[in-house]
């Protein structure tokens, strides 16, 4: 009995177990970029390689029909076993996303090992140069783009949206997805944020909001980050404000009858820069507040027009309509209903602090 038991133990200790995954045998991709179309997919895996105490990254290319096949192909070109369970960022080229997005995500949801807090971005053209630049900037493209996208969330351009949230939105009829959209600045050869790409259903619509519009969208969604800076010119002098708090009130009372939606926003802001220095005057202040409210309203309405034209509802109005206005909701496809809504936006900017100057 003891002999048998010790034999069994020896076998276990020497061979390891069925599900053992020795960390040293795996190369963990820090980020993946997907190019091409479904059935003809090209992917680039950025893999940190350790030589001694130094970390450097290599890019491994994979080709195939599906996301999984691409990985299997790339695995054959990787020194260790390729694993994507610690993926920081997924990048997709804009061309790729003009087909159903979910088909590229399924594999990431299906495997239990995978991480769901991975961030996602979209690039203009192939993803390869983006990964190369990331690797040369930071030795590790994953961390580079992870910080990059988190930075966007901080400055309220794009609220942090991880894989899980993306899946929820993709499956939700009442809301459409947006993704941060990057391009490469030719002169400096660095990736820059072009804006936020708009999705209609599960497909990239081909339209995107620029950075300023994206920031307004974030305010509309009430998901602002730490630094939400907006600059306008007031009477020839630039004024910068930082939005501190957003109070939103959506009025859907008239929706059933006339298809009109009123959204009012109270913004509590701090003045960051205003060289006229005359905010001690109550009247002046009110004037400025009014001016800012008006400008914000104009820009927002312009942005909403873009949204309605692309039939994309990233604000999530549809969720509210589905919950409380089933009559409107059941009329047809939400994208069509959304594009025909009359959306009225009102702002009420309140200056709270002005720094240590007036």
């Amino acid at each position: 009995m003891i002999k048998k038991l010790s034999c069994f133990l020896c076998v276990l200790l020497l061979s390891g177990c069925w599900d053992e995954r020795q960390y040293k045998d795996f190369a963990l991709a820090s980020m993946v970029g997907h190019d091409g179309q479904a059935n003809d997919l090209i992917s680039y895996f950025s893999i940190p390689i350790i030589i001694g105490e130094e970390v450097s990254s290599i890019i491994v290319k994979g080709e195939g029909r599906s996301t999984r096949e691409v990985r299997i192909h790339a695995n054959s070109n990787t020194p260790q076993n390729l694993d994507v369970s610690k993926l920081s960022v997924l990048l997709y080229s804009d061309e790729t996303l003009k087909t159903d997005f979910y088909q590229f995500l399924d594999v990431y949801f299906r495997t239990a090992h995978n991480r769901l807090s991975t961030l996602v971005g979209m690039t203009e053209g192939s993803t390869k140069p983006y990964i190369e630049i990331g690797n040369s900037e930071n030795k590790d493209a994953g961390t580079y783009y992870d910080d990059f996208i988190k930075g966007l969330a901080n400055s309220s351009i794009y609220p942090e949206t991880d894989l899980q949230t993306i899946c929820t939105i993709l499956f939700d009829d009442g809301m459409d997805l947006t993704l941060p959209y990057f391009h490469i600045n030719e002169e400096e050869n660095t990736p820059k944020t072009l804006g936020v790409a708009l999705f209609t259903g599960r497909i990239y619509s081909g339209t995107y909001l620029n950075v300023n519009q994206a920031r307004l969208l974030t305010i509309l969604k009430d998901e602002i980050g730490r630094y939400t800076d907006i600059t306008y010119t007031y009477e020839g002098i630039p004024v910068s404000i930082e939005v501190k708090r957003v109070n939103r009130k959506w009025d859907f009372k008239q929706l059933d009858r006339s298809g009109k939606v009123t959204m009012s926003y109270d913004l509590i802001v701090d003045v960051q820069e205003f060289s006229a220095d005359r905010l001690e005057d109550e009247k002046e202040r009110k004037e400025l507040e009014k001016y800012l409210s008006k400008r914000l309203q104009e820009d927002t309405i312009e942005m909403i027009e873009v949204l309605q034209q692309t039939k994309s509802d990233p604000i999530g109005i549809g969720r509210r309509v589905r919950a409380f206005h089933p009559k409107v909701w059941e009329k047809g496809k939400w994208a069509d209903i959304f594009s025909e809504l009359t959306i009225d936006v009102k702002y009420d900017v309140q200056i709270k602090r002005t720094g240590i100057l007036f």
Partner: protein
Amino acid sequence: MKFSLTKNQFFVFLFIVQTGSISIAFQSPIIKAAQQDAWIVFIVALVIQFFILVLFEKYYKHFVMNRLLRWIYSIYIMLILVLFVANIQKSLAVWVFQNTPPYVIVAIIVATSLYANMSRPESVVNLGVLLVPLFPLIFFFLFLATPDLIWTNLFPMGNISGKEWVNGLKEANLAFVGTEMYLIYRGYLLNTEKIFMKTIGKYILFIGSCYLITILFTIMFFSLAEIAIVPEPIVYILKSQEVQFIERIDLFFIIIWMMWSVITVIYLVFTVVLIFNMKKTKKGIRSVIGIHLLLFIIPLIIIWKDFFKVGNEILMYGYFVFALIIPFLVILVNTWRSKNDQKT
């Protein structure tokens, strides 16, 4: 085997048996059946459950098991056990052990149960204490998901059809598998302990709010279409959470839930041992080993032949038969008999 329970031990026992078998998987079917109103359906099921327990408490003295009933209940519990062990293996295979052969996992679970059931009965019944500190931990991790919840998912409220109601209630009852343990164990309570309606109310409130939180979180976290493709939503919610020092909280949850399940297995086996009053004699030990052998072989057959669907159906209807119909029949007959006895 003479032993007795305190009130707390009794309810902890009941709680673990009821939650252990099903807690990670019952949300999905009930939401599939009753849409966003699943939680309302569940509350109704909870109220029904409360009245069942109150009735049980009132008439438990009339629930006397004869030889036939002993056999019937043991077989029923063995059925739950076997399906349950198979389900544990299935969940583990999906989340952690993709390549490990089923017989290894089942053998380990069964061996643990064997070790526990070879010990003193008081040790077995007290095992639940191990879970007490882990329980708040799960909810702490779950509450990390609060910012990601979409409250509008709960609406529109209350417009599901009658058929959805019935299906929903049927699925909701799955969460209360193990109610009949109340009758089996009620007799072992210390004579000094009294159970009032308030006690049962408290218990129902506790177990109900635990379940309800998981249901509400599931509805609010996922969109309805997504729930259809996620079989174990709670684990999935935890998987998507990120804490500073650790990732894949789902793995820890699965581990905690594993502990939970193994203890439930031990409890259920213990119940069979108790029903037959197996003593620490050679014969008793042999039958305990026999039970475990069965527990090892049958789940493997279920896994091998993929009988899960049939099994779950049996479980659902079995609940009606064994937790509702048979106990009340027995109680009725015995009440009638005792009345007759009094007359004569």
